[in-house]
Protein backbone atom coordinates (compact mmCIF):
# COMPACT_ATOMS: atom_id res chain seq x y z
CA UNK A 1 0.00 0.00 0.00
CA UNK A 2 1.09 3.59 -0.49
CA UNK A 3 1.00 3.94 3.30
CA UNK A 4 4.60 2.83 3.46
CA UNK A 5 5.63 5.93 1.51
CA UNK A 6 4.60 8.11 4.45
CA UNK A 7 7.40 9.74 6.41
CA UNK A 8 6.17 10.23 9.97
CA UNK A 9 6.08 13.66 11.64
CA UNK A 10 6.27 15.73 8.51
CA UNK A 11 3.82 18.33 7.34
CA UNK A 12 4.18 17.22 3.73
CA UNK A 13 2.02 14.13 3.42
CA UNK A 14 2.91 11.90 0.53
CA UNK A 15 -0.28 9.93 0.90
CA UNK A 16 -1.90 8.47 -2.17
CA UNK A 17 -5.64 7.88 -2.19
CA UNK A 18 -6.40 4.17 -2.65
CA UNK A 19 -7.96 2.69 -5.76
CA UNK A 20 -11.73 2.81 -5.56
CA UNK A 21 -12.13 6.57 -5.75
CA UNK A 22 -14.75 8.08 -3.48
CA UNK A 23 -16.09 4.66 -2.53
CA UNK A 24 -12.83 4.05 -0.67
CA UNK A 25 -11.85 6.09 2.37
CA UNK A 26 -8.33 5.36 3.60
CA UNK A 27 -7.86 5.05 7.37
CA UNK A 28 -5.07 7.63 7.35
CA UNK A 29 -7.53 10.51 6.86
CA UNK A 30 -8.68 9.69 10.40
CA UNK A 31 -5.35 8.91 12.01
CA UNK A 32 -2.35 10.67 10.41
CA UNK A 33 -0.99 13.66 12.42
CA UNK A 34 0.41 15.24 9.23
CA UNK A 35 -2.99 15.07 7.55
CA UNK A 36 -4.51 16.62 10.65
CA UNK A 37 -2.01 19.52 10.54
CA UNK A 38 -2.84 20.10 6.91
CA UNK A 39 -6.57 20.12 7.77
CA UNK A 40 -5.97 22.90 10.29
CA UNK A 41 -4.03 24.98 7.75
CA UNK A 42 -6.21 24.40 4.73
CA UNK A 43 -9.65 23.90 6.25
CA UNK A 44 -10.07 25.48 9.70
CA UNK A 45 -7.56 28.28 9.03
CA UNK A 46 -8.37 28.29 5.33
CA UNK A 47 -11.25 29.48 3.17
CA UNK A 48 -14.05 28.53 5.57
CA UNK A 49 -16.62 30.28 7.75
CA UNK A 50 -16.46 28.79 11.25
CA UNK A 51 -19.20 28.99 13.87
CA UNK A 52 -18.05 30.84 17.00
CA UNK A 53 -21.15 32.00 18.93
CA UNK A 54 -24.83 32.79 19.00
CA UNK A 55 -25.60 36.50 19.25
CA UNK A 56 -27.91 35.73 22.20
CA UNK A 57 -24.86 34.62 24.21
CA UNK A 58 -23.48 38.16 23.93
CA UNK A 59 -26.66 40.21 24.31
CA UNK A 60 -25.03 43.65 24.75
CA UNK A 61 -21.77 45.56 24.26
CA UNK A 62 -19.13 44.47 26.77
CA UNK A 63 -20.01 40.76 26.58
CA UNK A 64 -17.34 38.26 25.61
CA UNK A 65 -16.96 34.47 25.45
CA UNK A 66 -14.24 31.93 24.83
CA UNK A 67 -14.62 29.99 21.62
CA UNK A 68 -12.63 28.08 19.00
CA UNK A 69 -11.94 28.09 15.28
CA UNK A 70 -10.90 24.53 14.64
CA UNK A 71 -8.64 23.76 17.58
CA UNK A 72 -7.52 27.39 17.90
CA UNK A 73 -8.84 29.31 20.93
CA UNK A 74 -10.47 32.64 20.09
CA UNK A 75 -12.36 35.32 21.96
CA UNK A 76 -15.71 36.54 20.66
CA UNK A 77 -16.50 40.01 21.97
CA UNK A 78 -19.19 42.60 21.36
CA UNK A 79 -18.71 46.35 21.49
CA UNK A 80 -20.83 49.23 20.22
CA UNK A 81 -19.58 48.54 16.69
CA UNK A 82 -20.69 44.91 16.69
CA UNK A 83 -18.99 41.53 17.02
CA UNK A 84 -15.25 40.90 16.99
CA UNK A 85 -13.32 37.65 16.94
CA UNK A 86 -9.61 37.45 17.70
CA UNK A 87 -7.13 34.86 18.84
CA UNK A 88 -7.02 34.13 22.56
CA UNK A 89 -3.25 34.52 22.63
CA UNK A 90 -1.47 37.52 24.11
CA UNK A 91 0.75 39.23 21.55
CA UNK A 92 3.48 39.44 24.18
CA UNK A 93 4.26 35.94 25.47
CA UNK A 94 1.49 33.91 23.96
CA UNK A 95 -0.59 33.34 27.08
CA UNK A 96 -4.20 32.28 26.55
CA UNK A 97 -5.38 35.40 28.33
CA UNK A 98 -9.16 34.92 28.54
CA UNK A 99 -9.97 32.19 31.08
CA UNK A 100 -13.70 32.43 31.98
CA UNK A 101 -16.15 30.77 29.59
CA UNK A 102 -17.94 34.10 29.26
CA UNK A 103 -18.30 37.44 30.99
CA UNK A 104 -18.59 41.21 30.75
CA UNK A 105 -15.69 43.66 30.58
CA UNK A 106 -14.64 47.00 29.16
CA UNK A 107 -11.19 45.70 28.23
CA UNK A 108 -9.26 42.43 28.26
CA UNK A 109 -6.10 42.32 30.33
CA UNK A 110 -3.53 39.56 30.10
CA UNK A 111 -2.94 38.41 33.68
CA UNK A 112 0.77 37.75 33.10
CA UNK A 113 2.12 41.26 32.32
CA UNK A 114 -1.11 43.28 32.08
CA UNK A 115 -0.97 43.96 28.38
CA UNK A 116 -4.39 45.46 27.76
CA UNK A 117 -6.66 45.06 24.74
CA UNK A 118 -9.97 46.59 23.77
CA UNK A 119 -12.97 44.44 22.79
CA UNK A 120 -11.90 44.52 19.15
CA UNK A 121 -8.56 42.93 20.07
CA UNK A 122 -6.49 46.11 19.67
CA UNK A 123 -3.58 46.61 22.07
CA UNK A 124 -4.29 49.77 24.09
CA UNK A 125 -1.72 49.75 26.89
CA UNK A 126 1.57 48.12 27.92
CA UNK A 127 2.87 48.62 31.49
CA UNK A 128 6.25 50.39 31.80
CA UNK A 129 6.23 51.12 28.11
CA UNK A 130 8.59 54.09 28.74
CA UNK A 131 10.57 52.19 31.39
CA UNK A 132 11.18 53.59 34.84
CA UNK A 133 13.57 56.46 35.61
CA UNK A 134 14.70 56.40 31.96
CA UNK A 135 15.71 52.75 32.28
CA UNK A 136 14.21 49.85 30.37
CA UNK A 137 10.91 50.05 28.55
CA UNK A 138 9.93 49.32 24.98
CA UNK A 139 12.06 50.38 22.05
CA UNK A 140 11.44 53.92 20.79
CA UNK A 141 9.84 52.61 17.61
CA UNK A 142 7.39 50.30 19.45
CA UNK A 143 3.87 50.81 18.11
CA UNK A 144 0.83 49.47 19.92
CA UNK A 145 -0.98 48.95 16.62
CA UNK A 146 1.64 46.44 15.49
CA UNK A 147 0.88 44.16 18.44
CA UNK A 148 -2.84 43.64 18.30
CA UNK A 149 -4.38 40.22 18.87
CA UNK A 150 -4.78 38.38 15.58
CA UNK A 151 -8.16 39.48 14.30
CA UNK A 152 -10.47 37.30 12.21
CA UNK A 153 -13.12 38.23 9.68
CA UNK A 154 -16.62 38.13 11.20
CA UNK A 155 -20.09 37.71 9.74
CA UNK A 156 -23.52 37.04 11.22
CA UNK A 157 -26.81 35.69 9.96
CA UNK A 158 -30.02 34.95 11.82
CA UNK A 159 -28.34 35.42 15.20
CA UNK A 160 -25.38 33.13 14.42
CA UNK A 161 -21.81 34.46 14.48
CA UNK A 162 -19.16 33.05 12.13
CA UNK A 163 -15.46 33.88 11.83
CA UNK A 164 -12.68 33.17 9.38
CA UNK A 165 -8.91 33.43 9.29
CA UNK A 166 -9.36 34.22 5.60
CA UNK A 167 -9.82 37.96 5.01
CA UNK A 168 -11.20 37.78 1.45
CA UNK A 169 -13.72 34.98 1.76
CA UNK A 170 -17.01 35.07 -0.14
CA UNK A 171 -20.11 36.17 1.83
CA UNK A 172 -21.65 33.50 4.07
CA UNK A 173 -24.70 33.29 1.80
CA UNK A 174 -22.52 32.28 -1.17
CA UNK A 175 -20.41 30.02 1.03
CA UNK A 176 -23.50 28.07 2.11
CA UNK A 177 -25.29 28.09 -1.23
CA UNK A 178 -29.05 28.40 -1.74
CA UNK A 179 -30.03 24.84 -0.74
CA UNK A 180 -28.30 24.98 2.64
CA UNK A 181 -29.27 28.58 3.26
CA UNK A 182 -32.97 27.75 2.85
CA UNK A 183 -33.00 25.29 5.76
CA UNK A 184 -30.63 27.45 7.83
CA UNK A 185 -33.04 30.37 7.48
CA UNK A 186 -36.01 28.12 8.30
CA UNK A 187 -34.44 27.40 11.71
CA UNK A 188 -33.07 30.91 12.35
CA UNK A 189 -36.25 32.58 11.17
CA UNK A 190 -35.72 35.97 12.80
CA UNK A 191 -37.21 35.24 16.22
CA UNK A 192 -34.70 36.27 18.95
CA UNK A 193 -33.02 33.22 20.46
CA UNK A 194 -33.19 32.23 24.12
CA UNK A 195 -30.23 30.19 25.39
CA UNK A 196 -31.42 27.12 27.33
CA UNK A 197 -28.01 25.73 28.26
CA UNK A 198 -24.91 23.80 27.27
CA UNK A 199 -23.56 20.28 27.01
CA UNK A 200 -19.92 19.47 26.38
CA UNK A 201 -18.52 16.08 25.49
CA UNK A 202 -15.49 14.56 23.89
CA UNK A 203 -15.76 11.94 21.20
CA UNK A 204 -12.74 9.66 20.81
CA UNK A 205 -12.96 9.79 17.03
CA UNK A 206 -11.81 11.90 14.12
CA UNK A 207 -13.77 15.15 13.68
CA UNK A 208 -14.81 14.29 10.11
CA UNK A 209 -16.76 11.29 11.40
CA UNK A 210 -19.26 13.68 12.93
CA UNK A 211 -19.96 15.15 9.52
CA UNK A 212 -20.09 11.72 7.96
CA UNK A 213 -22.53 10.47 10.57
CA UNK A 214 -24.95 13.25 9.68
CA UNK A 215 -24.44 12.73 5.96
CA UNK A 216 -25.26 9.06 6.44
CA UNK A 217 -29.03 8.66 6.64
CA UNK A 218 -28.51 4.89 6.26
CA UNK A 219 -27.48 4.58 9.92
CA UNK A 220 -30.39 6.67 11.17
CA UNK A 221 -32.93 4.00 10.31
CA UNK A 222 -30.79 1.14 11.59
CA UNK A 223 -28.86 2.27 14.67
CA UNK A 224 -31.53 4.41 16.30
CA UNK A 225 -34.41 2.29 17.55
CA UNK A 226 -36.14 5.45 18.73
CA UNK A 227 -36.31 6.93 15.26
CA UNK A 228 -37.51 3.71 13.76
CA UNK A 229 -40.06 2.67 16.33
CA UNK A 230 -41.69 6.03 16.73
CA UNK A 231 -41.77 6.93 13.07
CA UNK A 232 -39.42 9.90 13.33
CA UNK A 233 -37.15 8.79 10.54
CA UNK A 234 -38.14 5.68 8.72
CA UNK A 235 -37.06 4.38 5.35
CA UNK A 236 -40.09 5.29 3.26
CA UNK A 237 -40.88 8.60 4.99
CA UNK A 238 -40.60 11.73 2.88
CA UNK A 239 -36.95 12.57 3.32
CA UNK A 240 -33.86 13.92 1.61
CA UNK A 241 -30.12 14.17 2.02
CA UNK A 242 -29.40 17.59 0.56
CA UNK A 243 -25.88 18.56 -0.56
CA UNK A 244 -24.67 21.99 -1.71
CA UNK A 245 -22.85 22.49 -5.02
CA UNK A 246 -19.41 22.34 -3.36
CA UNK A 247 -20.19 19.03 -1.64
CA UNK A 248 -19.01 20.19 1.79
CA UNK A 249 -22.32 21.10 3.46
CA UNK A 250 -25.38 18.95 3.97
CA UNK A 251 -28.92 18.81 5.34
CA UNK A 252 -30.42 15.53 6.43
CA UNK A 253 -34.14 16.23 6.23
CA UNK A 254 -37.17 14.21 7.13
CA UNK A 255 -40.88 14.82 7.43
CA UNK A 256 -42.71 13.08 10.26
CA UNK A 257 -45.97 11.64 8.95
CA UNK A 258 -49.09 12.11 11.04
CA UNK A 259 -49.48 8.33 11.18
CA UNK A 260 -46.14 6.51 11.19
CA UNK A 261 -46.33 3.70 8.67
CA UNK A 262 -43.66 1.11 8.22
CA UNK A 263 -44.14 -1.37 5.42
CA UNK A 264 -43.49 -5.07 5.99
CA UNK A 265 -40.41 -5.19 3.77
CA UNK A 266 -38.73 -2.37 5.72
CA UNK A 267 -39.59 -4.00 9.05
CA UNK A 268 -37.71 -7.09 7.96
CA UNK A 269 -34.63 -5.01 7.16
CA UNK A 270 -34.60 -3.00 10.38
CA UNK A 271 -33.55 -5.08 13.36
CA UNK A 272 -34.28 -2.16 15.62
CA UNK A 273 -37.97 -2.22 14.77
CA UNK A 274 -40.21 -3.64 17.45
CA UNK A 275 -43.99 -3.76 17.15
CA UNK A 276 -44.33 -4.04 20.90
CA UNK A 277 -42.18 -1.12 21.94
CA UNK A 278 -44.41 1.66 23.20
CA UNK A 279 -43.85 4.73 25.35
CA UNK A 280 -45.44 5.53 28.68
CA UNK A 281 -45.05 9.22 27.98
CA UNK A 282 -45.31 10.33 24.35
CA UNK A 283 -45.12 14.07 25.01
CA UNK A 284 -41.55 14.34 23.92
CA UNK A 285 -42.30 12.99 20.44
CA UNK A 286 -44.93 15.64 19.74
CA UNK A 287 -44.19 18.10 16.97
CA UNK A 288 -45.47 21.64 17.32
CA UNK A 289 -45.45 23.09 13.82
CA UNK A 290 -43.59 26.37 14.15
CA UNK A 291 -41.33 26.55 11.09
CA UNK A 292 -41.95 27.43 7.45
CA UNK A 293 -40.48 24.21 6.15
CA UNK A 294 -41.71 20.94 4.66
CA UNK A 295 -39.36 19.14 7.07
CA UNK A 296 -39.97 18.29 10.72
CA UNK A 297 -36.31 17.39 11.15
CA UNK A 298 -33.27 19.04 9.58
CA UNK A 299 -29.77 18.19 10.69
CA UNK A 300 -27.37 20.55 8.93
CA UNK A 301 -23.66 19.89 8.60
CA UNK A 302 -22.07 23.25 7.91
CA UNK A 303 -18.44 22.81 6.97
CA UNK A 304 -16.21 22.65 8.84
CA UNK A 305 -17.30 23.03 12.48
CA UNK A 306 -21.06 23.48 12.85
CA UNK A 307 -24.11 21.28 13.18
CA UNK A 308 -27.51 22.94 13.27
CA UNK A 309 -30.00 20.65 14.96
CA UNK A 310 -33.72 21.11 14.36
CA UNK A 311 -35.11 17.82 15.62
CA UNK A 312 -38.85 18.48 15.86
CA UNK A 313 -38.87 21.28 18.46
CA UNK A 314 -35.53 20.66 20.13
CA UNK A 315 -33.05 23.15 18.70
CA UNK A 316 -29.33 23.44 19.09
CA UNK A 317 -26.01 24.20 17.54
CA UNK A 318 -23.05 21.88 17.97
CA UNK A 319 -19.53 23.20 17.58
CA UNK A 320 -16.79 20.74 16.64
CA UNK A 321 -13.44 21.50 18.28
CA UNK A 322 -10.84 18.99 17.10
CA UNK A 323 -7.99 18.21 19.47
CA UNK A 324 -5.90 15.96 17.23
CA UNK A 325 -6.78 13.29 14.70
CA UNK A 326 -8.20 10.97 17.35
CA UNK A 327 -10.51 13.15 19.39
CA UNK A 328 -12.76 16.19 19.28
CA UNK A 329 -14.76 18.25 21.74
CA UNK A 330 -18.44 18.91 21.02
CA UNK A 331 -19.96 22.03 22.49
CA UNK A 332 -23.76 21.96 22.33
CA UNK A 333 -25.71 25.16 22.80
CA UNK A 334 -29.41 24.45 23.17
CA UNK A 335 -31.88 27.24 22.52
CA UNK A 336 -35.48 28.26 22.06
CA UNK A 337 -36.99 31.64 21.29
CA UNK A 338 -37.62 34.54 23.65
CA UNK A 339 -41.32 34.51 22.74
CA UNK A 340 -41.79 30.86 23.80
CA UNK A 341 -44.47 30.16 26.39
CA UNK A 342 -43.37 28.41 29.57
CA UNK A 343 -45.03 25.23 28.27
CA UNK A 344 -43.19 25.47 24.92
CA UNK A 345 -39.89 25.79 26.77
CA UNK A 346 -40.74 22.69 28.85
CA UNK A 347 -41.60 20.87 25.63
CA UNK A 348 -38.23 21.78 24.08
CA UNK A 349 -36.43 20.69 27.26
CA UNK A 350 -38.31 17.36 27.39
CA UNK A 351 -37.57 16.75 23.72
CA UNK A 352 -33.92 17.47 24.49
CA UNK A 353 -33.81 13.88 25.81
CA UNK A 354 -33.37 12.79 22.19
CA UNK A 355 -30.05 14.53 21.68
CA UNK A 356 -26.79 15.26 23.46
CA UNK A 357 -24.28 12.83 25.00
CA UNK A 358 -27.13 11.23 27.02
CA UNK A 359 -29.73 11.53 24.30
CA UNK A 360 -31.66 8.51 23.08
CA UNK A 361 -30.10 9.14 19.66
CA UNK A 362 -27.04 11.19 20.57
CA UNK A 363 -25.39 8.68 22.86
CA UNK A 364 -25.66 5.95 20.23
CA UNK A 365 -23.91 8.15 17.65
CA UNK A 366 -21.05 8.89 20.02
CA UNK A 367 -20.63 5.23 20.89
CA UNK A 368 -20.64 4.26 17.20
CA UNK A 369 -17.98 6.85 16.31
CA UNK A 370 -15.76 5.60 19.11
CA UNK A 371 -16.09 2.08 17.73
CA UNK A 372 -15.10 3.30 14.24
CA UNK A 373 -12.02 5.17 15.46
CA UNK A 374 -10.86 2.15 17.44
CA UNK A 375 -11.40 0.06 14.32
CA UNK A 376 -9.40 2.31 11.98
CA UNK A 377 -6.57 2.77 14.49
CA UNK A 378 -6.11 -0.81 15.59
CA UNK A 379 -7.04 -3.03 12.69
CA UNK A 380 -4.77 -4.43 10.00
CA UNK A 381 -7.01 -3.52 7.06
CA UNK A 382 -6.96 0.12 6.10
CA UNK A 383 -9.84 1.18 3.82
CA UNK A 384 -13.54 1.74 4.46
CA UNK A 385 -16.11 0.99 1.78
CA UNK A 386 -18.67 3.71 1.03
CA UNK A 387 -20.64 2.09 -1.76
CA UNK A 388 -24.26 2.66 -0.83
CA UNK A 389 -25.93 4.25 -3.86
CA UNK A 390 -23.04 3.30 -6.12
CA UNK A 391 -20.98 6.28 -7.21
CA UNK A 392 -23.81 8.83 -7.10
CA UNK A 393 -23.03 12.17 -5.45
CA UNK A 394 -25.04 15.20 -4.42
CA UNK A 395 -28.62 15.45 -3.23
CA UNK A 396 -30.79 12.34 -3.04
CA UNK A 397 -34.44 12.18 -2.01
CA UNK A 398 -34.27 9.02 0.05
CA UNK A 399 -32.29 7.62 2.97
CA UNK A 400 -30.47 4.64 1.54
CA UNK A 401 -27.41 6.31 0.05
CA UNK A 402 -23.93 7.48 1.05
CA UNK A 403 -23.80 10.04 -1.76
CA UNK A 404 -23.31 12.97 0.64
CA UNK A 405 -20.22 11.38 2.20
CA UNK A 406 -18.71 10.92 -1.27
CA UNK A 407 -19.51 14.57 -2.08
CA UNK A 408 -17.75 15.69 1.09
CA UNK A 409 -14.65 13.70 0.22
CA UNK A 410 -14.60 15.06 -3.32
CA UNK A 411 -14.39 18.56 -1.82
CA UNK A 412 -11.95 17.43 0.88
CA UNK A 413 -9.55 15.87 -1.60
CA UNK A 414 -9.50 19.05 -3.68
CA UNK A 415 -8.78 21.29 -0.69
CA UNK A 416 -6.27 18.87 0.82
CA UNK A 417 -4.60 18.11 -2.51
CA UNK A 418 -4.96 14.37 -1.92
Amino acid sequence: MPDSAQTPHTNEPTRVWPAGGLQAIPDWVYTDPAIYQREIERIFHGRTWNFVALEAELPEPGCFKRSFVGPTPVIVARDTNGFHVFENRCAHRGAELCRPASGKATELVCPYHQWTYDLAGNLTAVPFRRGIKKQGGMPADFKLAEHNLRQLAVTTRGGVVFASFCRDLEPLEDYLGPEILADFDATFDGRPLQILGYYRNTVPGNWKMYHENLKDPYHATLLHAFLVNFGLMVAGNKSAMIVDASGRHGTMASAKPDQPMVDEASKQEMRAFSETMTLNDTRFLEYVREFTSPWSVTMQTIWPNLIVQRELNTLGVRQIVPSGPHEFLMIWTMFGFTGDSAEMTRHRLRQGNLMGPSGFLGLEDNEAMKFVQEGVVRSSTDVSYIGLGGTEEGTVDHLISEAAIRSMYRHYREVMDL
Binding site: L196, Y198, A225, M277, L349, R350, N353, P357, S358, L363
Partner: protein, 174 residues
Protein backbone atom coordinates in the same frame (compact mmCIF):
# COMPACT_ATOMS: atom_id res chain seq x y z
CA UNK B 1 -17.68 30.82 36.91
CA UNK B 2 -19.87 31.79 39.84
CA UNK B 3 -18.78 29.23 42.41
CA UNK B 4 -20.97 30.43 45.23
CA UNK B 5 -24.32 29.55 43.76
CA UNK B 6 -26.06 26.36 44.70
CA UNK B 7 -29.30 25.41 43.06
CA UNK B 8 -32.27 27.71 43.61
CA UNK B 9 -34.64 26.41 46.28
CA UNK B 10 -31.90 24.49 48.11
CA UNK B 11 -30.80 26.96 50.78
CA UNK B 12 -29.53 25.63 54.12
CA UNK B 13 -31.77 26.25 57.14
CA UNK B 14 -31.47 25.55 60.87
CA UNK B 15 -32.40 21.90 61.38
CA UNK B 16 -32.81 20.46 64.89
CA UNK B 17 -29.95 18.04 65.48
CA UNK B 18 -32.06 15.04 66.52
CA UNK B 19 -34.32 15.30 63.48
CA UNK B 20 -31.32 15.87 61.22
CA UNK B 21 -29.60 12.76 62.61
CA UNK B 22 -32.62 10.60 61.76
CA UNK B 23 -33.10 12.15 58.33
CA UNK B 24 -29.44 11.79 57.50
CA UNK B 25 -29.48 8.10 58.38
CA UNK B 26 -32.56 7.55 56.22
CA UNK B 27 -30.92 9.36 53.29
CA UNK B 28 -27.69 7.37 53.68
CA UNK B 29 -29.73 4.15 53.58
CA UNK B 30 -31.65 5.41 50.56
CA UNK B 31 -28.55 6.46 48.62
CA UNK B 32 -26.81 3.19 49.38
CA UNK B 33 -29.73 1.22 47.96
CA UNK B 34 -29.98 3.61 44.98
CA UNK B 35 -26.29 3.16 44.17
CA UNK B 36 -26.47 -0.61 44.64
CA UNK B 37 -29.34 -0.83 42.17
CA UNK B 38 -27.63 1.24 39.48
CA UNK B 39 -24.22 -0.34 40.07
CA UNK B 40 -25.81 -3.76 39.61
CA UNK B 41 -27.14 -2.59 36.24
CA UNK B 42 -30.77 -2.98 37.35
CA UNK B 43 -31.84 0.15 35.54
CA UNK B 44 -35.47 -0.96 35.28
CA UNK B 45 -35.67 -0.86 39.09
CA UNK B 46 -34.46 2.75 39.12
CA UNK B 47 -37.88 4.45 38.65
CA UNK B 48 -39.10 2.85 41.90
CA UNK B 49 -36.92 5.28 43.87
CA UNK B 50 -39.09 8.19 42.72
CA UNK B 51 -42.63 9.45 43.31
CA UNK B 52 -45.08 9.32 40.39
CA UNK B 53 -44.77 13.06 39.83
CA UNK B 54 -41.00 13.23 40.32
CA UNK B 55 -38.52 15.45 38.49
CA UNK B 56 -35.05 14.17 37.60
CA UNK B 57 -32.39 16.21 35.85
CA UNK B 58 -28.69 15.80 35.09
CA UNK B 59 -27.02 19.07 34.22
CA UNK B 60 -23.63 20.76 34.26
CA UNK B 61 -22.66 23.12 37.05
CA UNK B 62 -22.23 25.90 34.47
CA UNK B 63 -25.92 25.60 33.62
CA UNK B 64 -26.96 25.41 37.27
CA UNK B 65 -24.89 28.49 38.20
CA UNK B 66 -26.33 30.48 35.28
CA UNK B 67 -29.87 29.26 36.06
CA UNK B 68 -30.14 27.68 32.60
CA UNK B 69 -32.82 24.98 32.55
CA UNK B 70 -31.38 22.42 30.15
CA UNK B 71 -30.97 18.81 31.22
CA UNK B 72 -28.64 16.22 29.74
CA UNK B 73 -31.38 13.93 31.01
CA UNK B 74 -34.73 15.36 32.04
CA UNK B 75 -37.54 13.16 33.35
CA UNK B 76 -40.87 14.66 34.37
CA UNK B 77 -43.25 12.09 35.77
CA UNK B 78 -42.80 8.36 36.23
CA UNK B 79 -43.64 7.57 32.60
CA UNK B 80 -40.48 9.26 31.39
CA UNK B 81 -38.39 7.42 34.00
CA UNK B 82 -39.78 4.08 32.81
CA UNK B 83 -39.27 4.95 29.14
CA UNK B 84 -35.63 5.83 29.67
CA UNK B 85 -35.02 2.76 31.81
CA UNK B 86 -36.64 0.50 29.21
CA UNK B 87 -34.68 2.08 26.37
CA UNK B 88 -31.38 1.59 28.21
CA UNK B 89 -32.27 -1.96 29.16
CA UNK B 90 -33.58 -3.10 25.79
CA UNK B 91 -33.07 -0.89 22.72
CA UNK B 92 -30.12 1.47 23.02
CA UNK B 93 -26.74 0.63 21.52
CA UNK B 94 -23.69 1.19 23.71
CA UNK B 95 -20.61 -0.64 24.89
CA UNK B 96 -21.05 -2.76 28.04
CA UNK B 97 -19.69 -1.24 31.24
CA UNK B 98 -19.50 -1.42 35.02
CA UNK B 99 -20.42 1.59 37.10
CA UNK B 100 -19.75 2.48 40.71
CA UNK B 101 -21.35 5.36 42.57
CA UNK B 102 -19.64 6.75 45.67
CA UNK B 103 -22.07 9.00 47.52
CA UNK B 104 -20.78 11.09 50.43
CA UNK B 105 -21.17 14.37 52.37
CA UNK B 106 -24.91 13.99 52.93
CA UNK B 107 -26.18 17.31 54.23
CA UNK B 108 -29.73 17.91 55.46
CA UNK B 109 -30.71 21.41 54.37
CA UNK B 110 -34.31 21.61 55.52
CA UNK B 111 -37.06 19.56 57.15
CA UNK B 112 -40.69 20.36 56.51
CA UNK B 113 -43.08 17.71 57.79
CA UNK B 114 -42.49 14.67 55.64
CA UNK B 115 -40.33 16.55 53.12
CA UNK B 116 -36.54 16.51 53.46
CA UNK B 117 -34.33 18.77 51.39
CA UNK B 118 -30.73 17.60 51.18
CA UNK B 119 -27.55 17.48 49.14
CA UNK B 120 -24.86 14.86 48.73
CA UNK B 121 -21.67 14.67 46.71
CA UNK B 122 -21.19 11.84 44.25
CA UNK B 123 -18.38 10.32 42.26
CA UNK B 124 -19.23 7.98 39.41
CA UNK B 125 -16.58 5.60 38.13
CA UNK B 126 -16.88 3.72 34.87
CA UNK B 127 -15.08 0.65 33.60
CA UNK B 128 -15.33 -0.55 30.01
CA UNK B 129 -14.05 -3.79 28.50
CA UNK B 130 -10.30 -3.57 27.80
CA UNK B 131 -10.12 -0.04 29.22
CA UNK B 132 -8.91 1.46 32.49
CA UNK B 133 -11.40 2.65 35.06
CA UNK B 134 -12.19 6.34 34.66
CA UNK B 135 -13.92 8.98 36.71
CA UNK B 136 -17.06 9.51 34.64
CA UNK B 137 -18.46 12.33 36.77
CA UNK B 138 -18.14 14.14 40.04
CA UNK B 139 -21.07 16.21 41.13
CA UNK B 140 -23.70 16.92 43.72
CA UNK B 141 -27.24 15.69 44.18
CA UNK B 142 -29.81 18.32 45.09
CA UNK B 143 -32.64 16.23 46.51
CA UNK B 144 -36.20 16.60 47.74
CA UNK B 145 -37.33 13.45 49.57
CA UNK B 146 -40.82 12.64 50.80
CA UNK B 147 -41.47 10.11 53.52
CA UNK B 148 -44.30 7.75 52.53
CA UNK B 149 -45.31 5.00 54.97
CA UNK B 150 -41.96 5.36 56.69
CA UNK B 151 -39.96 5.05 53.46
CA UNK B 152 -38.21 7.78 51.54
CA UNK B 153 -38.92 8.49 47.88
CA UNK B 154 -37.36 11.15 45.68
CA UNK B 155 -39.67 13.86 44.46
CA UNK B 156 -36.78 15.76 42.91
CA UNK B 157 -33.19 14.87 42.15
CA UNK B 158 -30.92 17.27 40.31
CA UNK B 159 -27.52 15.76 39.49
CA UNK B 160 -25.26 18.76 38.99
CA UNK B 161 -21.87 17.72 37.69
CA UNK B 162 -18.59 19.63 38.04
CA UNK B 163 -16.85 17.55 35.37
CA UNK B 164 -18.29 19.58 32.53
CA UNK B 165 -16.83 17.53 29.71
CA UNK B 166 -18.59 14.19 29.35
CA UNK B 167 -16.35 11.43 28.06
CA UNK B 168 -18.17 10.16 24.93
CA UNK B 169 -21.58 9.43 26.41
CA UNK B 170 -23.39 9.17 29.71
CA UNK B 171 -25.60 6.11 29.35
CA UNK B 172 -27.09 5.20 32.71
CA UNK B 173 -28.83 7.47 35.20
CA UNK B 174 -26.52 9.06 37.75
Amino acid sequence: MDKSAGLKGFAATQVPIDAARIARFEIEEFNTAYAATLDAGKVEDWPAFFTDDALYRITGRDNADADLPVGLVLCEGIGMFKDRALAIATTMMFAPRYLQHHITNVRVLALDGEVITATANYALYQTLVDERTTLQQIGRYYDRFVRRDGTLLLQERHCVYDSLIIDTALIYPV
